[in-house]
């Protein structure tokens, strides 16, 4: 079956612009996660959605970052008024909660460059 897909694969934007990053999880996976991978910070957790529960937003670095998950499937990560320090690879992962062993399957990522 299809894995986690993310779009776009690359995004170059000017400082101050807003960007939207999309994630399509594996069908049937109820949990969805966003992470950020950057040279200075390594791999950081951003936000976690599980079913209809309130998302865990504890990793979002500022109020410029937000995410939503529509219909329990596709998720969009939005960064408003982008800054150069937002440049990173944004990774999405999904998992099937229950008997899967809590394995998170990662997408290929979106490389964001803020100029």
């Amino acid at each position: 079956g299809a894995g986690v897909s993310q779009s776009p694969s690359n995004k170059v934007t000017e400082k101050g612009k807003d960007v939207e990053l999309r994630c399509d999880p594996i069908s049937g996976h109820t949990a969805l996660y966003w992470y950020r991978q950057s040279l200075g910070q390594g791999l950081e957790f951003l936000i976690y959605f599980q079913g209809n529960s309130a998302p865990d937003k504890s990793g979002l670095p500022s109020d410029r970052f937000s995410a939503e998950r529509t219909g329990g499937s596709v998720s969009t990560l939005t960064i408003q008024r982008t800054q150069q320090e937002d440049s990173a690879v944004y990774l999405c992962a999904s998992s099937r909660i229950g008997n899967s062993g809590y394995e998170q399957y990662f997408g290929p990522g979106t490389r964001l460059t803020v100029t």
């Binding site: 996660y33 992470y35 957790f45 976690y48 992962a93 062993g101 809590y102 394995e103 990662f106 997408g107």
Partner: protein, 112 residues
């Protein structure tokens, strides 16, 4: 709160030699442990995981890891590496279905 320490940022090794990548974690509660691999310009792929049971877990590509609760370690080993094992390796912990907390990664460079 949990944390993960990968003691070696880079590990150079010759082909067919054994390798160990070290990982220590800190947590006040039971955690699940994972090793992920990231090949150049690719996404993260799960190598192996420890949830419960046998402390020696075997993963893909001939890798294995041993969970040591007393030493809070989860070191990754391979008895004979190949050039194709050159990649970045990440150790991670999580509680239940919670977020993954990653270490800073170890770059394994295999030389011919």
């Amino acid at each position: 709160a949990q944390s993960v320490t990968q003691l070696d940022s880079q590990v150079p090794v010759f082909e067919e030699a054994p390798v160990e990548l070290r990982c220590n974690y800190s947590s006040s509660v039971s955690v699940y442990l994972f090793w992920y691999v990231q090949y150049p310009n690719q996404g993260l792929q799960l190598l192996l995981k420890y949830l419960s049971g046998s402390t020696l877990v075997k993963g893909i590509n001939g890798f294995e890891a041993e969970f040591n609760k007393s030493q809070t370690s989860f070191h990754l080993r391979k008895p004979s590496v190949h050039i194709s094992d050159t990649a970045e390796y990440f150790c991670a912990v999580s509680m239940n279905t919670d977020k993954l907390i990653f270490g800073t990664g170890t770059r394994l460079q295999v030389f011919p």
